[in-house]
């Protein structure tokens, strides 16, 4: 019969219309500002820097090794290493900028970082009228405490903490062994990753 297919389609639409009130798999609208989709464990948007012990400056895990700067495919990371008066490099970034107007959220910086210093944030409400100032994340806007990391990626953060503690213990063990062997040096060098 001509029109049968159309009627069948209409019936399907009607079924969906009423079904959308009752069944969850029909995905009703998320009323965004008031209601949010619960963020996923792995969700990523832009990078941030992790610091330990509530010390945003000295607690930064970043040692300014510039690996992420080099590996970043769109080249949106800029790092300047801190130097003391004599010009000797300190293992600390003086400038750490990420241009999120360029960043493509690929997570390669996180993957290549050997110090677990840079991680992915889930924050996405960053739209702004100003392109240059507000979309350039400087070090103070990037630094976030480890507790925040635990809050957004709990599973991953615990794994990282475990791994870091293990490494630290190993390094201390090594340093102690070294100290015992030479028996002269008194203070073991602090491992870089700590």
């Amino acid at each position: 019969m001509l029109g049968e297919g159309i009627i069948k389609g209409m019936a399907e639409t009607a079924k969906n219309f009423f079904g959308s009130y009752t069944s969850a798999h029909r995905l009703t609208t998320v009323q965004y500002p008031e209601e949010r989709i619960p963020p996923k464990q792995n969700a990523r948007n832009f990078p941030f820097l992790v610091f330990d012990n509530d010390e945003p400056e000295s607690g930064l895990r970043c040692v300014a090794c510039k690996i992420c700067e080099k590996e970043c495919p769109p080249q949106c990371i800029y790092i300047v290493m801190e130097r003391d008066e004599k010009g000797k490099p300190k293992k600390h970034p003086k400038v750490f900028d990420i241009d999120i107007s360029v960043c493509m959220s690929c997570q390669i910086c996180v993957e290549v970082c050997p110090f677990e210093a840079i991680k992915m944030d889930t924050e996405f409400e960053l739209s702004d009228a100003d392109r240059y100032e507000r979309l350039l994340l400087t070090k103070d806007r990037l630094s976030k405490p480890n507790t925040y990391y635990h809050k957004i990626h709990s599973v991953e953060a615990s794994e990282v903490d475990f791994r870091l503690a293990e490494e630290k213990a190993k390094a201390e063990e090594k340093a102690r062994a070294k100290a015992a062997a030479s028996s002269k040096s008194t203070v073991p060098a602090q491992p870089a990753a700590a």
Partner: protein, 204 residues
């Protein structure tokens, strides 16, 4: 009329408003976007307009296929040099008041494709942009957030005075020159009326 008197009146069931508020309220809640996608972000833009995120809740009910019926241009995706003149032309065809959202890294600055020879490094070189959304691509919620940012911006616009809304200023241009294809780049490379290379220099 001060805030106190107004709230007092509204308790009595009398609502007062200024012309400015009414005007901005109307404009704010009937922004119709242009159905215009360029690249990856366009898919997220479509996803935003679909049932799960439903951009229509904010008054952006319909995506208009014609620029003549649209108020908002969402530049969703990479603007290449080959496409830039068409984007400007579309913008010129939109009636005032009109707004532009640069959605995604590519539209803001060329994004990951910035090093490419055919990629325009930011659509703000040719047309004024009201809101930038970083992200590659931004989540649908991020577009909704940007939309609310735009609504707040519209809400704060003045009807009169020196800093009145752009479309109320007869001096302010509504159309911008369309760049032309040259032998090795667009000519001109940017519109100096809209955009100047920033002179910011890092001090360390």
């Amino acid at each position: 009329m001060d805030q106190g008197l107004r709230s007092e009146l509204s308790k009595q069931g009398i609502f007062t408003s200024t012309l400015e508020e009414l005007y901005n309220w109307g404009r704010r809640n009937s922004v119709w976007p242009l159905q215009f996608g360029l690249a990856c972000c366009a898919i997220e833009m479509i996803a935003t307009s679909m049932a799960r995120f439903d951009l229509a809740r904010f008054g952006a009910e319909v995506f208009r296929p014609s620029p003549r019926q649209a108020d908002l241009m969402i530049v969703a995706g990479t603007v290449t040099k080959k496409m830039a003149p068409q984007v400007v032309r579309l913008y010129n065809q939109m009636p005032e008041p009109k707004y532009v959202i640069a959605m995604g890294a590519c539209a803001i600055s060329g994004g990951p494709f910035k090093q490419g020879y055919n990629v325009l490094k930011g659509i703000d070189r040719y047309i004024p942009v009201d809101v930038h959304i970083p992200g590659c691509p931004p989540r649908p919620e991020a577009l909704l957030h940007a939309f609310m940012t735009l609504q707040r911006r519209i809400d704060s616009q003045k009807l009169t005075g020196a800093n009145r809304a752009r479309h109320l200023d007869p001096e302010a241009p509504s159309e911008f020159p369309v760049p032309e294809f040259g032998a090795d780049d667009l000519e001109p490379a940017y519109n100096p009326q809209v955009w100047q290379p920033p002179t910011f220099v890092r001090d360390e």
